[in-house]
């Protein structure tokens, strides 16, 4: 009897020692909801940090450098402690300051006016950041006469994105912003980096038809 059971026992042990854990691979879990969206947004608090983007508009291709300047003084005076300013510049020329607001639950673009007023309000991220999460916001895109309502939706979380320069970003969130006017903007935010890529059908977007991170 032992002569029989022993080989079977060995085979069973071998089979199991191949790894109880290795019998199957772990179940791929859906990424957990993110409640602090700051980690997926621009490093606005990191004064002096800069990100370089390659921007394509309808007619031109240029490189924009965004340098973080921290909390905006005027914003603080107004009591908006979450307003941050960045310096946008092209090669050999300074463009303008660009303003953002960011807290744990929301991160949005104010535009180039100031912390006190916005001409291109754009709610980039809203907690919880999880696939299927949606939110809406109104955007005038600098116009006094037209306001579009955008619906944003998180369509992917935790995916990997590889750029043409070979740089790979893990844990990327994809958000699609769509309006009834026909504009569809898609932005990809990488954890720890912020905006890494965006596409837009809006010809008047400050970020052009396409903007892609090229250096950090």
């Amino acid at each position: 009897m032992m002569k029989t059971f022993f080989p079977i026992l060995c085979l069973t042990v071998a089979f199991l020692s191949n790894g109880c854990g290795a019998v199957t691979d772990p179940i791929p879990n859906s990424p957990a909801p993110v409640w602090n969206v700051e980690q997926y947004y621009l490093p606005l608090k990191n004064i002096g940090a800069s990100i370089t983007y390659c921007r394509k508009t309808q007619t031109t291709i240029d490189t924009i450098k965004m340098t973080m300047q921290g909390n905006d003084d005027s914003g603080l005076m107004l009591g908006n402690q979450y307003c941050y300013t960045t310096d946008l510049s092209k090669t050999n020329s300074r463009l303008f300051d660009y303003y953002f607001t960011m807290n744990d639950s929301e991160a949005y673009t104010l535009g180039k006016l100031s912390c006190g007023q916005t001409d291109k309000y754009w709610l980039d991220l809203k907690a919880p950041l999880t696939v299927g999460q949606t939110w809406s916001f109104s955007n005038s895109n600098g116009s006094y006469y037209v306001t579009n309502t955008y619906t944003a939706k998180v369509t992917r979380r935790g995916v990997t994105m590889k750029m043409p320069d070979g740089k790979v970003y893990d844990d990327v969130a994809e958000i699609i912003y769509a309006s009834k006017s026909g504009d569809t903007t898609v932005k990809w935010f990488a954890k720890g980096t912020g905006l890494i890529y965006s596409t837009s059908k809006n010809p008047d977007s400050d970020f052009g038809k396409e903007m892609r991170i090229v250096n950090q």
């Binding site: 079977i8 069973t12 089979f15 019998v23 199957t24 691979d25 772990p26 990997t160 590889k162 070979g166």
Partner: protein
């Protein structure tokens, strides 16, 4: 003198007599009519007791099934080991198994054995000793009557599937004395009424035809070169049913279907009859089978990485999907004959094979239930690890050359688990 020669005869039938003494005994049987008569009386008594019990309990279909099983346990290769496999001990075990199968007899026979009295035979047959002896033929009656000892010492020995009832006599006894023994013992065997009925039926069936029964069954015929001792070392259960030229089945073919589950990615319900497989096995020995299986089944495997271009981005996605694939595998099965009311076999199998773009290894545990000499119902629960040969997401990302941003959406699950309940038929040939 009579007791000594009778002791020899009894020892001969028990298989405990050595070859020299056996030869001497057979010689004396051949030259002495008295000894020959005594020899034949014992032989017929043993055969009658055996056949009575045997056919009283086992229905023809069950008997066929059992002997098919027994036959299956002696392959051509293992036949050389038949002496070992079907040794006295094995035969006893097999006999016990048969008794268990037979249910009621399995209950009655131990009592029958333990009481150790000739009268129990009469009680079981619900006949008087005279009637019982008359069923064995007049010469036996006369002889046994004359051989009943004053202090009755009856031994009933069970070896193999036979119950051997032998009697040692030192002096003559009358029919009345035998009746007394019968009356005493019949009172203690009232609780074996069912067995009595069965035995009665059998005795009735064999009454007056003992000689015919014995002569019609070669296995029961005494041979000079082979002791017709059911409990001896030289006879097996198989020999009771099949002649030596009977060939054993060494191949088996099976067809099975299955249902079950897949872990962890059960995207699709594995409905009944989802999988099918055909197996061809070869019995290395009676209880060890190797073979080849081909099947069609549902497997959870990684899909190919498929790119889709959406505007300025390329999406590369890969996920677990349910695929129907063919597989070919080798298996090794070890069988454990078991008898719990009916004969069946436990089977333990290890297998491994290939599937498109992967492989599977598994363990199975199941049962085989003989339906007749050739067919068996087979059911087994199998756990198989399904492995898909594929690159990890990291490897794919690093090896992919991109000209525009690429979004990789992929899971790394190369290994899944299939749980299946396979059920079907096996045919041995």
């Amino acid at each position: 003198m009579t007791s000594v020669i009778e002791d020899r005869i009894i020892e001969y039938f028990e298989g405990s007599l050595n070859d020299a003494d056996s030869a001497e005994l057979l010689h004396r049987v051949s030259v002495s009519p008295e000894i020959r008569d005594l020899f034949h009386q014992h032989e017929k008594l043993r055969e009658t007791a055996h056949s009575a019990m045997n056919s009283a309990v086992i229905s023809p279909s069950l008997e066929a099934s059992i002997f098919a099983k027994v036959e299956a346990m002696a392959s051509a290769k293992s036949r050389k080991k038949a002496v070992m496999v079907f040794s006295r001990q094995s035969a006893v075990v097999a006999a016990l198994a048969i008794m268990l199968i037979s249910g009621s007899l399995g209950y009655f026979v131990p009592k029958y054995i333990s009481d150790n009295k000739l009268a129990q035979v009469a009680a079981l047959t619900q006949q008087s000793p005279s009637q019982l002896l008359s069923t064995l033929g007049k010469p036996i009656t006369n002889n046994l009557t004359s051989l009943i000892p004053s202090t009755t010492s009856t031994s009933i020995e069970k070896t193999g599937s036979a119950v051997i009832h032998s009697r040692r006599a030192t002096s003559s006894q009358s029919d009345n004395q035998l009746s007394q023994v019968h009356n005493l013992s019949s009172a203690s065997t009232q609780d074996v009424a069912v067995g009595n009925n069965l035995m009665s039926k059998n005795i009735a069936a064999t009454e007056g035809s003992t000689t015919e029964l014995i002569s019609s069954n070669p296995a029961l015929m005494p041979k000079t070169s082979q002791v017709s001792d059911l409990g001896g070392n030289r006879r097996s259960l198989q020999d009771l049913r099949y002649s030596d030229e009977q060939t054993a089945s060494t191949f088996e073919v099976g067809i099975q279907t299955s249902s079950g589950f897949t872990y962890p990615a059960s995207a699709t319900t594995i409905s009944p009859f989802a999988d099918q497989r055909l197996s061809l096995g070869y019995h290395l020995t009676e209880n060890n089978v190797v073979g080849l299986r081909v099947g069609s089944g549902l497997y959870q495997q990684l899909s190919e990485m498929s790119p889709t271009n959406d505007g300025g981005v390329v999406y590369m996605s890969r996920h677990i999907e349910t695929k129907r694939n063919f597989n070919e595998e080798l298996f090794y099965t070890h069988l454990f004959p078991i008898s719990l009311g009916a004969p069946f076999l436990l089977e333990f199998t290890v297998d491994g094979g290939i599937i498109p773009n992967g492989y599977n290894i598994g363990l199975e545990c199941g049962v085989r239930i003989p339906m007749n000499e050739h067919f068996m119902f087979d059911a087994a629960f199998a756990l198989s690890r399904i492995h898909t040969n594929s690159l990890s997401t990291e490897q794919i990302v690093s090896s992919t050359q991109v000209t525009k941003p690429v979004v990789f959406e992929s899971v790394d699950m190369q290994n899944t688990l299939n749980g299946r309940l396979h059920y079907g038929l096996l045919y041995r040939f």
